[in-house]
Symmetry: C2
Subunit: 426 residues, 2 copies
């Protein structure tokens, strides 16, 4: 018998029939002898519908975040209660709990709150009695005023991982509408292959660089607390993908491919400040200003100073949605720093090659650049981390680039290179 | 400046446009200088839709009441947050609160919980800062386990009255989709007239005998705590009906008509036990049995024992919906008591004539029976209270009966008799 935390996303509970299908699966887990805690998202498009209603009643006025959070958490209350009712109809007892009742305590950052602590005593008691506990994902209660908060889009993943950590669950299963984590987005790369096992470190890079299958914060949380994630489909019985966090020192004992996958991201834009005086502190002032405006910068490129001009160009990428807040701030700063103009481009795409094996394998970047050259793709920016190589291309070239790189690194189905680190050698 | 508790029902907030209309009205109350606490129901048919979803996922299985209550309270969370957003857009600050946050503490009778206490410190604080407080109607939290409970259908009225009592509000306004309390249902009696003022005692009888405009429990609560209710339309600026509770001793100082109105009820059925042995304790056993089955009995008639047979017939009325639970209980009891059969009829109607003035005016019953005789309506059962006279007729005759009685007692528009009690005499 093991303790399973299982999270079901909105597409898995989109209507009454789906809820019954999921309920049957949960009931079977319990009948198989497992202790089961379920985290559930709002049904299908509920959250989007509530946001649309909020737009209509607000008539363009600013929307207080506290009220928006109360509104949006209604979706999970509906789905969790319905799921409990459905599980009951399979002869298994189930009780549903709000984020507050499940002890999910957060800060007061409405709309994007962070979990401060999880005190799931009611959940433990419920499971201890042999019942299935259903917990509303995406929501908590702030410690300051006991008001409802939300954890941001995709926050149900985080709820599940946080509960799994607090309950010392054996595994945290993330049920979704795809069969697991793939070497690339199958809609772009038809030969993409499901990954059996990936480290949380690699998954972090995949999630941070455009793979939408897991919420970034949830993977961070899983990595920090050593929670094993199991990503799988609620529509099939396939094995899915395990996201593991090897204990320190054990990272290299596992068999792992050099490259785990290719992620892509079309949501970024590129800003270029033209003619920035090449004086100490200019870059610091620029990025302080962007950070103060609330934008998350990803890649930065500073060209070498053009001989004799004493000027340089600075480019960086940021979420396209953040241009609106950054533009006035950078326009104001132009007066102070004396750069000539700021150019914005949102038709860019980012490709990221990710693999823990990169650490010990030189030549990955040369192979990447060669593949892109052969495919006729121009590279605009480059950035790297220890286990990631990212390039920015024009958005028109992105699909071509992803397919070329996927093939070049042998990721196409049934061609994967498996490299054995440590003990046994290759 | 006064403190107003204003309740808006589901038909007043059925869509985004309605919510904006109601929000504008609330914002104006605040701008007029009043302190405002709003109680809101779920939007339009939300509750019915949630019940339908629950039916679908339960697939005929029993539905745990705790889960149903969590489900149904989602509707008010949505409407309260949307209303707060809409009020904001009119430039007035508003915060929404769940039943729990508003301090509505109940017992654990899921589905039909009773309010044990109201501790609205957060509401007082919110209003004290000049903000409008929006409270979810129909819901509370039980003191045993901190779980969400519902107060039963129409429970938002009770929430409003309980909050008005706890906050010592000047008035509790109940906004609905009709212009106030009428002397009869205007759909049956086109000449029915809006009542300006009615006592809570009369309103109790009206509500208990079929008038659906106010929840019975809310009127009881208002009467107990001396809360003045003001029933009015959210679709017009008409004056509506005030429901007042005169202080003890002052009841007779007010000007009041003999008859306040005619209520009718089509939801009752009649059960007749034929051939009950006329022995002591038989009736007690019968009504103990019916009560144990959970049915609410209204009127009871026992015929005199037929000479020489030692047998009698006992008839009573009960909600038609309760026949299903009563039937097996009474069938079983027939073995013990030896009555021959139980006949059920659900095509009956009840007419109730209500007025505090009845106390001091003999001849009301003679006038009632005369009016029904002249209209050719047969009376099947009769019951009376101090301020009420009820008769059961066939349901086919009910509309005719209501119109005839309404006319006979001069209730048709502009013909009302006003009688002055106490000081000034007639």
């Amino acid at each position: 018998m093991s303790l399973i935390v299982a999270k079901f996303g909105g597409s898995s509970v989109s209507d009454a029939a789906s809820i019954r299908r999921v309920a049957g699966r949960i009931a079977q887990m319990r009948l198989d002898g497992h202790e089961v805690v379920v985290v559930v998202s709002a049904m299908g498009d509920t959250t989007d519908e509530l946001i649309e209603l909020a737009e209509q009643v607000s008539d363009g006025a600013e929307q207080p975040r506290r009220e928006m959070d109360i509104l949006l958490t209604a979706g999970e209350r509906i789905s969790m209660a319905l799921l409990a009712l459905a599980i009951h109809s399979f002869g298994v007892k189930a009780q549903s709990f709000t984020g507050q009742q499940a002890g999910v305590l957060t800060d007061s950052a409405y709309g994007n709150a962070r979990i401060i602590d999880v005190t799931p005593s009611r959940i433990s008691k419920c499971v201890g009695k042999g019942n299935v506990a259903i917990v509303a994902g995406f929501q908590g209660v702030n410690v300051d005023s006991n008001d409802v908060t939300t954890l941001g889009r995709g926050g149900s993943d985080t709820t599940a991982v946080a509960l799994a950590a607090a309950l010392h669950a054996d595994v945290c299963e993330i049920y979704t509408d795809v069969d697991g984590v793939f070497t690339a987005d199958p809609r772009i790369v038809p030969t993409a292959r499901r990954i059996d096992v990936v480290t949380s470190e690699e998954m972090l890079e995949l999630a941070a660089n455009g793979a939408k299958i897991l919420h970034l914060r949830a993977v961070e949380y899983a990595r920090r607390y050593g929670v094993t994630l199991h990503v799988r489909s609620s529509f099939s019985m396939l094995e899915g993908t395990r996201v593991i966090t090897p204990a320190p020192g054990e990272e290299h004992a596992m068999e792992a491919p050099i490259i785990s996958g290719v992620a892509h991201d079309r949501s970024q834009a590129k800003a270029t400040l033209v003619g920035v005086p090449d004086v100490p502190g200019a870059a610091a002032r620029i990025f302080e200003t962007v950070a103060a405006a609330g934008a998350n910068i990803d890649m930065i490129v500073q060209n070498v100073s053009v001989q004799g001009t004493g000027e340089t160009d600075i480019s960086f990428t940021l979420p396209a949605a953040d241009i609106a807040v950054v533009r006035p701030a950078l326009d104001a700063l132009a007066q102070e720093l004396g750069y000539r103009e700021v150019q914005y481009r949102d038709n860019i795409g980012k490709l990221s090659l990710i693999g823990a094996g990169m650490r010990s394998h030189p030549g990955v970047s040369a192979k990447l650049f060669g593949a892109l050259r052969d495919a006729g793709v121009n590279i605009e920016m480059i950035s790297t981390s220890e286990i990631r190589l990212s390039v920015v291309t024009s958005s028109d070239d992105l699909d071509t680039a992803v397919r070329a790189v996927h093939t070049a690194f042998g990721l196409d189905a049934a061609e994967v290179e498996a490299v054995v680190y440590g003990g046994t050698g290759r």
